[in-house]
Symmetry: C2
Subunit: 237 residues, 2 copies
């Protein structure tokens, strides 16, 4: 059993009526790196609409395990989460997808995340097998996500949890050095004097305003080079 | 213009071919509390399949603004995010959906999040209008989410950001007090002695093990009452 990987996580779809939703769920899983699908009493499967909506995630459909019995489909799991939109009579421990992912991923044993029927979700009896409910915090007046959309959100949080020490944001190179920026500002100031936009005897706050703009922007070296090229061309005019 | 609310956020869908994806996007938006949709050159709209997949989010479809020109659809926005799966020739600043939500929600002016065609996304020319790209960190070998699934993930992060000071996890009441738990443990110990499962002269670690179990579980008052009821019934036997 793999440690701390997405291969431990199984998505179980119970009583799905529209085969397109099975295909869309497979696609959602595969985009996030999940591979293990189980189906409990799908109405139609295999099915051309499922394959079409899987959009290339056919391997997940092909490898999906199919069960007649809900209880049997859960036998080998060590932690079971049940996706649920509704408030239930008995308050069960409820987690957000984010907390679910934090709890599920470190488990070094098979984990199930169970999704119910399109119209009615999981029954109370089915939820009794779950350690936790997972609830996507949806709008109170329109709370029901499409099942494949719910799979997508929870799979996304699992992937974010797996990648949590990865630095994602900004694919840009490091900002230019102070030295390089000072050369730009000097060049800019000279040019502005040349074209008589800046009066060196009455500079006011112009250079400071321009510094604020470019420092906030965090120019990269190649952009400094472009701007200095423009300044040189301006000076040559 | 509303402050720090989801009403500032507009979802713009460009060149969508399958009307079902427009409907599914409307449903995804509405579940997360988003209301503002714009469509640029949709292939078929309005459309019965769009309405069917919206599954009750008809108001969003009905109020959607339709544009022939991409540029025109963006005129009144103060910040524009472009959803993008691919690496581009020129590195543009790229954010995760989470960082996108953190940046978008505090803006007190209209913000656009733009999604492109099913097969090819947004063109490089269209991306030039964007302040940032948003990329869902998908699997390198299978990176293309369905457009409505991508709308769902980003709308989910916007909602999570809006609700970020809300306490979600666990809908259970507070755990029982130490006083109440100690009464339970005393009752349990007496009962175990009564039924001769615990020998008071050789108690070993039994009570400590049971305390570990029940303390970890964080029993709530109603559960303490059930367990004490069982103990009383056992003693009466």
């Amino acid at each position: 059993m793999a440690n701390n990987t997405l291969d431990n996580i199984h998505i179980i779809l119970v009583g799905i009526t529209h085969p397109g939703n099975i295909g869309a769920s497979a696609r959602a899983m595969k985009t996030m790196g999940l591979t293990q699908m189980r189906l409990v009493r799908p109405k139609q499967f295999p099915n051309a609409e499922a394959t079409a909506r899987a959009c290339g995630a056919d391997d997940i459909l092909f490898n999906a395990q199919i069960f007649d019995s809900y209880e049997e489909s859960l036998q080998d799991f060590h932690l079971v989460f049940g996706a649920s939109a509704r408030q239930r009579e008995i308050s069960w421990p409820v987690l957000t997808p984010r907390t679910c992912a934090e709890q599920a991923l470190p488990i070094q044993a098979p984990v199930a995340i169970v999704f119910g029927r399109e119209n009615s979700g999981l029954t109370n009896q089915e939820l009794e097998y779950c350690n936790y409910l997972v609830q996507i915090p949806s709008d109170a007046n329109f709370s029901s996500l499409n099942v494949a959309a719910a799979v997508q959100v929870i799979a996304y949080e699992l992937r974010m949890e797996k990648l949590k020490n990865t630095k994602f944001d900004s694919a840009l190179p490091s900002p230019a050095s102070v030295e390089n920026m000072e050369r730009l500002y000097k060049h800019l100031e000279e040019t502005l004097i040349d074209i008589k936009f800046l009066n060196p005897n009455h500079p006011r706050l112009l250079m400071r305003r321009l510094r604020r703009l470019f420092n906030r922007t965090q120019l990269i070296d190649s952009e400094v080079n472009i701007l200095r090229g423009i300044l040189t061309a301006t000076q040559e005019k």
